[in-house]
């Protein structure tokens, strides 16, 4: 039995935030869950995927977040409790569906989880998705801790059904990837058979219908505000004339700071967990007796600006501050000491001395950036592209996945990246205006996610572009989730079909299509040269299974190589491939046999043929 199902009600368990959220949703009777994987949300879906194989839960890895939300929207409008999980930037992809789904509303509860990533531990930006709730006019809940997240998910489903609107459940990395002690609750059996009652004049968003639906949405927002006023998720604690308004993990830092400063009796704290709509009356009542207020929130001044507007309307003139040079930054994440020190300074409490070690005499330490794994097929493909291009300068439009790491020297493959699928469209733009050879590189999962429209665009508008699709048979970056091109039989999973990337590319009208096995270096270089020379859209599909994924499935045996005495220290292997299995010992190149998987690419690069397989007896 899945570990999240095995726990007994009342049991206390040490759970990762994402596990706690998954368990909370199961307890709330979630029947349909959809996602496109993205850190820091991925473990929620990974647990749902496993649970769905031994329960009535329907779970799917959808091709992208927009599709995921559409699937969940239909399920919820058929009366079934549904959940859609994504990282913050996934919400941008789903936004088209989101904005009008808010007009239509839902019947069964729909919880849309957005996992924001302040500091960008694993993201391309740190956008604050609270504004999506404001933009769409949807209610939003934000947990402050792992324990609270587990329970709040259930409340989000109830709220969604009470308002007949999707509810946005916003977490940050420090909720998703924190671990805490959670008390397990009862599982409500899911109600999984949906019934869709046709009602086109409320469900088909044409202008005449939408004009009515927008009226309904605003009415729902008023109802939501009334619920926010009374919500247990907007608690007030402490006492005194100084006030703090905070949300999410900021609350933890505020609570610790008040205790450490011993000022719990001088500061009143309002924690906003139901953060859209904000409880206006409650906030005004909170502000009235106070002398000054500090808003503690990560990211943008979402609450601060709202609170200032409410104070202005109520004729209150007390100082309200949050984001400023002296107080809190809009950049990155907060931490307990920063919050404590800024709080103390703002309220005129003695500012505690902050002990910091003098580290000015530390030597400059070499960086340890994440890198492509030993035996990673992307390294081989990058080598092939560079060799095929030779002296020809080209622009490399890259995309989102493990292969993005290829932009680090010495591989240096990647000149431009904005979002999922962007390699295709940006490749078109670069080739058109610069007239330079342009190579777009995109992974298999990203290709299905949002690469296909860009490829079709390239064909239709007759761009001069070489697209290299890095097909490693899985969504590697986020933990080896399946995508439509994955062979599910390999994982002993039934009930799936498989879409051929090559057939897809040909169907898009690409006439120059080739497939390479990147570990066969010379042959691949020849094929790549041909593709690069083609005027128009050429596509090279580079097929080689992700080495980590293969290891997990026991598909490959490790066959390490070693450097023989024939080595003349040209170091092409290190300089061109940068495989982490190489190291230097007394100025000589060595291979760490525990890391080398035996892709043999370095053996093909070595001008002396000095790299050979380790003989096994």
């Amino acid at each position: 039995m899945h570990k999240l199902l095995g726990h007994q009600s009342g049991e206390k368990v040490f759970l990762l935030g994402n596990e706690a959220i998954a368990r909370g949703a199961i307890e709330a009777g979630v029947a349909v869950a959809t996602t496109y994987p993205g850190t820091p949300s991925s473990e929620i879906s990974a647990n749902f995927f496993d649970i769905s194989r031994e329960s009535d839960l329907y779970f799917e890895y959808s091709t992208n977040e927009k599709v995921a939300l559409e699937v969940a929207a239909a399920a919820a409008n058929s009366g079934v409790r549904s959940m859609c999980i994504m990282k913050h930037v996934g919400m941008n992809v789903a936004a088209d569906a989101l904005m009008t789904l808010a007009y239509l509303g839902v019947k069964g509860g729909l919880v849309i989880l957005t996992a924001d990533d302040p500091f960008m531990f694993s993201s391309q930006n740190e956008q604050d998705n609270r504004y999506y709730a404001k933009l769409a006019g949807l209610p939003m809940l934000e947990p402050s801790s792992v324990e609270e997240a587990a329970k709040m998910v259930g409340d989000a489903f109830d709220l969604s059904e009470a308002l007949q609107e999707p509810v946005i459940f916003r977490t940050t990395t420090r909720i998703n990837h924190s671990t805490g002690v959670v008390t397990i609750g009862d599982i409500k059996p899911p109600y999984s058979k949906g019934v869709f009652k046709k009602d086109p004049f409320n469900y088909v968003a044409v202008p005449a219908v939408s004009r009515n639906l927008h009226v309904k949405l605003l009415q729902n927002l008023e109802k939501a505000e009334a619920l926010s006023e009374e919500s247990i998720h907007n608690p007030v604690s402490g006492k005194g004339k100084c006030g703090i308004i905070c949300n999410g993990v900021s609350w933890l830092y505020v609570a610790d700071a008040l205790k450490e400063l011993d000022k719990e009796d001088q500061v009143t704290v309002l924690r906003i967990g139901f953060s859209n709509p904000m409880p206006k009356n409650k906030i005004v009542r909170f502000l009235e007796p106070l002398d000054k207020v500090l808003v503690v929130e990560e990211g943008e001044p979402f609450m601060e600006e709202a609170v200032k507007a409410m104070a202005q309307e109520a004729g209150l003139t007390l100082p309200i501050f949050g984001k400023s040079k002296e107080l809190f930054s809009r950049l990155f994440e907060l931490d307990p000491e920063t919050v404590k020190n800024r709080m103390a300074a703002y309220f005129g409490f003695p500012v505690p001395a902050r002990e910091r070690l003098d580290l000015t005499d530390l030597p400059k330490l070499p960086q340890r950036p994440p890198s492509l794994c030993p035996g990673c097929s992307h390294r081989a493909t990058f080598h092939v592209i560079k060799k095929a291009a030779g002296e020809q300068d080209f622009i490399c439009a890259t995309d989102i996945g493990c292969y993005t790491l290829g932009f680090f020297p010495p591989l240096s493959m990647g000149d431009f990246l904005i979002c999922m699928g962007s390699s295709m469209g940006t490749g078109c733009g670069f080739s058109k205006v610069t007239g330079k050879k342009t190579v777009s590189i995109i992974g298999d999962s990203t290709f299905f996610h949002s690469g296909i429209p860009g490829l079709i665009n390239a064909v239709f508008n007759n761009h001069n572009l070489t697209v290299v699709i890095l097909d490693n048979g899985t969504t590697a970056m986020t933990g080896h989730q399946p995508h439509p091109g994955v062979d599910m039989v390999q994982q002993k999973l039934e009930g799936f079909n498989r879409i051929s990337i090559e057939a897809m590319v040909r169907a898009a009208g690409v006439s120059h299509v080739s497939v390479i096995k990147p570990f066969r270096v010379s042959k691949s270089i020849e094929t790549m040269k041909d593709a690069l020379a083609y005027q128009g859209v050429s596509v090279v599909i580079s097929q080689e299974i992700c080495t980590l994924y293969a290891k997990g499935l026991n598909l490959k045996k490790q066959k390490p190589f070693y450097v023989t005495d024939k080595c003349k220290n040209h170091r092409n292997c290190i300089d061109e491939l940068a495989c982490p299995a190489f190291y230097l010992e007394a100025g000589r190149v060595k291979i760490d046999e525990s890391l080398c998987v035996g892709c043999a690419v370095c053996a093909q690069v070595c001008p002396e043929n000095a790299i050979l397989p380790v003989k096994t007896s």
Binding site: K12, V13, F14, T39, P40, F121, S122, S145, V146, T173, R174, H177, S178, T179, G180, V181, V249, L252, Y253, A255, D256, K259, D335, P336, E337, T338, R354, E355, R356, L357, D358, L359, D361, L362, P363, K364, L365, P366, Q367, R368, P369, P370, S371, L372, C373, C402, L405, P409, P410, L548, I574, D575, A578, P580, F582, Y583, L584
Partner: protein, 198 residues
């Protein structure tokens, strides 16, 4: 009860997430409030993996610079890199076996002398405990048990409010059955070694 803050730094693949999971389970079993935060997006790509653990009444799951009471480093240079988390009385435990990053192989940086690393840490913090965790793990029967060796060293300091037996029990319960004996052996070797150097 005071709050005790622990930082564990390692290189992806060294198993620090399992080590922190064991500590968390041991705390849960003995009713010690515990919270943990980790950054593990790049765990399998050779980057730095950091876990923060907070034992006691504090609610925050992350640890600010200068606030760690104990720092356990699975790799000496990474221990040094994390020194900003420490204060003048922090107890630092470090493995002495280096894992040279690839930037050194490609000549983009120079790995500092192990002796210099130790001197700098010793000079700035309360106490430094060093051990060759890789050698001890090998002696225990599995080179992958570096995490258990360092866990043993950590528990031997008695800075964490965790009884020895609860940690051993958590190892028995939470690590893979086939490895429990080796893990416990590694844990004991670390425990003894740290006792000697401490």
């Amino acid at each position: 009860m005071e709050t005790t803050r622990l930082i564990i730094v390692a290189v992806g693949g060294q198993g620090n997430l399992l080590a922190s999971k064991v500590l968390g389970e041991a705390a849960l079993a003995t009713d010690i409030p515990v919270k943990m935060s980790e950054i593990h997006g790049m765990a399998q790509r050779g980057g730095v993996v950091e876990s923060s653990m907070v034992f006691g009444p504090a609610q925050s799951t992350i640890i600010s610079d200068g606030k760690a009471d104990i720092l356990v480093g699975f790799e000496p240079m990474e221990t040094l890199r994390a020194l900003g988390k420490c204060h003048g009385k922090t107890i630092v435990i470090t493995n002495l076996s280096p894992l040279s990053p690839f930037t050194v192989t490609t000549g983009q940086g120079v790995y500092p002398e192990i002796r210099e690393i130790q001197n700098l840490i010793r000079e700035k913090t309360g106490k430094l405990i060093t051990l060759n965790a890789n050698a001890l793990a090998e002696k225990a029967g599995n080179t992958m048990a570096v995490n258990m060796v360092l866990l043993g060293a950590l528990i031997s300091t008695r800075v964490l409010p965790l009884p020895l037996e609860s940690v051993k029990q958590a190892i028995a319960d939470k690590t893979r059955k086939a490895f429990v004996d080796v893990n416990l052996r590694a844990f004991n070797l670390g425990y003894e070694a740290a006792g000697k150097t401490g």
